[in-house]
Symmetry: D3
Subunit: 249 residues, 6 copies
């Protein structure tokens, strides 16, 4: 088994969350897999809406470029909105997986219907859009928000974590779902204990995405370069985006 | 009638295309409407894929911010992929309309089914995604690409324009559609002549979007600030995105 | 700017509601737009179901014919079920817009999800069908009925109006929506005050439709006469429908 | 077995087509079923678009009222666009079935996918809308038009009939369908011979609808009077629609 | 009128339920129709999940084969999950109708939206899947389970029957539906009394399916043998499935 | 890394195909994964329709039971129709993945739209149904059949293999897809060479499913036993199905 390196990108700039994500990724990684955890170099400290997603996408793309130059085998976008996913697939040579995508896919493999528990209510629309885009809208039994900001997960108090747990229990009671998807990269390390306690699959997208990248790499499958995911057209970017020009495709 | 100013944003950096877009916007504008045509200050010279869209979104958001500071009444995003649309709506006070959105909406008002004619085949997937997002997938009878890059529309030869015309004719013959949507901001000035020649509505999104912004402004309707389109959470951005921090909301 | 005349058709025969509709239409109209408000000459006093819609469609078509003969630039069908809309488009030369259609379109431009507040519960199915037909089913967060007949809006007591307000507030609380669509022509004049009070877009279709007709006219876009919206086949009608025969196409 | 009477309504005014429809209905009727075939007293000689449908709906409703006063057990609307179907269900006491509805339902019971063969291309959109409304859009493998007007089926030459046959053969070859739905009441008598010749179910809606009404009557099931199909609200109609007022509900 | 024989197959092995089903079928049958009620010879005593469905499908297919050899005119699969329906259509010469299918079709003919009342919550997902497959997902207003096993309907206490009644009343209150579909073959004999008491169509699939088979037979329509419902490919089965080999097609 | 054993079930009884499937599974398996390849003990020699699927499901379930008793970590159902998938999930303790499911999921991770190449045309409907069930209908750009029976892949001539290759090339040309899904377990060993030759991801479900099971096991995620995938209700089966009774849950 050849060792591979997977780049796990935290699209926000919060180092604590990058650590959380790295921990979850490393726990999931196979023996031969190295996890290179990075965060956006510049951008937003947390991602809680459409604007944040748009800004974060650029940071993701810069890291995709860097990761590709370093020869990583594949990439994970570790924010539940999967910011920049299709753009990243254009830029990348290897596979790119978003954590919302990974968690939703995995959920449909172990339950006929799943619910989502996320942070702020304003991010629910992003989950809805992804459910439509990935084809899982009818597999989703309910969408729940704990109504705390993303960074409450990093404040050390455990309040947000307890809220997540309470919402999972509520979702199981109300929605008739068979699994729960955790809707934030900052919740990554909660999944295993909740799975054990609640006796249903509680799915974290970070670890799920790591396994998906490993799987695709092992299968010799990478992002299709035929059609709309082909490398960008090779035009010169200007201004603060010139860094992308050094990227010979 | 109070005069209003509408900011029309060309999300790419091509000045020629900004001129084309400005011309179409001004032809459509009501007497009391001033068109302020701008392009992304930095970014990609043309937008032909997911990567280009992600980069262009930042340029759009910078202009939205600038436009809002200048007190414009509303904004048009003049690229057929509507890059950054929902993010722009978060950032803006007034209404924001994308030209794909505008053209598709208008098409459903004058025909039961419409076809789309765009530039490169790789952009068709973006149009498909927007049709799903806006709810018009079943109203679309066909998607066509002339297989020329966006900037071929600016080379002065007229070859791309003739290809657009030929594809419109083909779409009418094959698709059983009642209207055509032109799938690129660079085609904006072709719509009127094609409408006359082909005797069906051939719809340009730039002019359509200008009228939609005018309409919303006249109705006193603006982007909802309740829920997911509320202003961004007000967190400090870092690095090259710090410019957004100067934006007191 | 050339002056244009828009025919606003109240599909029922209630003069008070025609006045309400005319008021809303005139408030929305641009300086150069004349509003010609008419009601069905014969038919039902209010429209609250499929039967009422079917009857009202004939009255609408008679007015479309009359309006066309008088040279109006476009037509608005001012009942939330949009009775006779596609038939009217066949008959008309200019654009024809229904108020449910107009309000729903506008709502999707200012919010990611909207709710509808209408009169009798039995009309909700009509709104559902229109949401499907126009493509906006997934954009609708909730459907609400005040459980009062349409004409309660015309009784001068203000009770129905207060019920509408209460239901809007409830919808905002329960549905997680960003905008409200008022589901009856008789509510047209309530939208502006509710928008101000509730601080979300509360959308009346009458004024929205007027702006849409103005927009289409300004863009030189009219109902496609290619395909299924072409003028009727020109067959002689019999009996009480003979009046349509005088209509040389 | 009690004898029952089913009213079969030809929504157009063409007596020849009423005869064709009556013949098909009587061939399908059970021994104890009497077929009362009527046509719209006033209206359009054939139905080939949205306008024709809207006019025809009134004629249908008048006959529904008459049929109910005569005590018929149920009603068939024998035009492939099912004009006035939901309005008729409001007005009727017994079940009301449209022939497009009936044929589409039956087709899904004998094949996983079916195709439709109809008359003028402009009517295809009506079939599309019904497929969506009834839930069968994904069960339809293709829509075909012979490009001849409805009344060509009544000209005695057999040309239109031969065109229908040719299109059925083409649909079977191209669409991968398992059954054909004939998309016009005037084709009703062709179904049996085509079924035999082509060795696939070729389904006529008139006979199918007769069996459905018989079935519902036998089961004691009638149009639900709870909710939106309850009788009309009982308001006085004016002008040429006053005839409906004599209808005590 | 020729006499026909319809085979009504109870896919489970419970004789009491076969009797219930036979009773409902015979009450619905036309004078010339003989009901041959059978149950799976081997299998599960009741069907309450995906596993039970898969096992029951074989018993259904054996009976289809037997019924065909006996020359029955058509077949009913009398379990609300319609186990083995498409496989049975391959094997059969005549029409095959499932009772979920039949009840859902009938419901859409008498109401714009219906609710379903079934036994265990775990079977709701099967109903959901069938709603999608048959095209009726948007016609369903609610799904309800009494949370008692199927065989509670056979225990003679009447408790389950009372629970069904209570849930029907609740569904009418909460869902805004116009009809109820009973979601279990064991509820077949409850429909008529509930229809009378609740004054809405309460639909049993057994009787509905009998009428549908009668209708198809009368129309000369049978399962299409063109395409995917053609007889199986004629390969030799092994082991306990060898019984199917004696079936010369 | 703990060694795990994955049971790969060929739902038909053809030993040659079991070998092909085992080869593909072993090539994909991680170092610590043992592949236990089995075929249905009794059933059909190949699976080419709904009937074959229904029979094969029982053989699958027997193997699931056996595999669980032997303590395998998870199961793969290696037929492109995923026969018995949800029933197998009820019966299993560990994860169960179908190869159509696995291939389709993987395809959506590397391309925005994929095409399917399968054997007989009659099996296309099964693929269509699975696309709907899994949520990927809109991600599928085309469905193709080589019109040869499944076992032609095992005849040693290479003719069927060459037909598969030709159809893949045609699909890429006509459909605008970015990846190909091979629609038969017997094609499993073709994927890698075709991926290299055609320069797009050509995806075999057997290897994809092995990686998915490995991933779920590594993540500690297994089939949800809450709700409809809980173990069967524990009723005694009769006759040839008694073998399932020995299965203490």
């Amino acid at each position: 088994m050849t060792a591979i390196c997977i780049q796990v990108i935290n699209p926000n700039t919060n180092a604590g969350m990058t650590d959380t994500i790295a921990t979850a990724a490393r726990m999931a990684a196979a023996p031969g897999t190295e996890i290179m955890a990075v965060s956006s170099r510049e951008g937003v400290p947390s991602i809680e809406g459409h604007f944040d997603e748009a800004i974060a996408a650029v940071g993701v793309l810069e890291q995709i470029q860097a990761g590709r130059q370093q020869g990583v085998a594949g990439h994970v976008i570790a924010c539940f909105g999967d910011p920049g996913l299709l753009a990243a697939r254009e830029l990348a040579q290897g596979p790119v997986i978003g954590i919302a995508e990974a968690a939703m896919h995995m959920a449909t493999l172990v339950a006929t219907r799943f619910s989502i528990v996320t942070t702020l209510p304003r991010t629910l629309i992003i989950a809805r859009h992804l459910l439509h885009q990935y084809g899982f809208y009818d597999h989703c039994a309910g969408l729940h928000a704990i109504d705390l900001p993303v960074l409450a997960l990093e404040d050390g108090s455990g309040v947000a974590q307890e809220q997540v747990r309470a919402r999972c229990i509520q979702a199981l009671k109300e929605d008739g779902c068979g699994a729960i998807v955790l809707g934030c990269g900052g919740m990554a390390t909660l999944a295993q204990a909740l799975t054990r306690e609640l006796q249903v699959p509680v799915i974290d997208g970070v670890s799920a995405a790591v396994k998906m990248v490993e799987s695709l790499v092992a299968l010799g499958l990478s992002t299709s370069k035929r059609g709309d995911l082909a490398f960008p057209e090779g035009k010169a970017l200007s201004g603060k985006f010139q860094t992308f020009n050094t990227f010979a495709i």
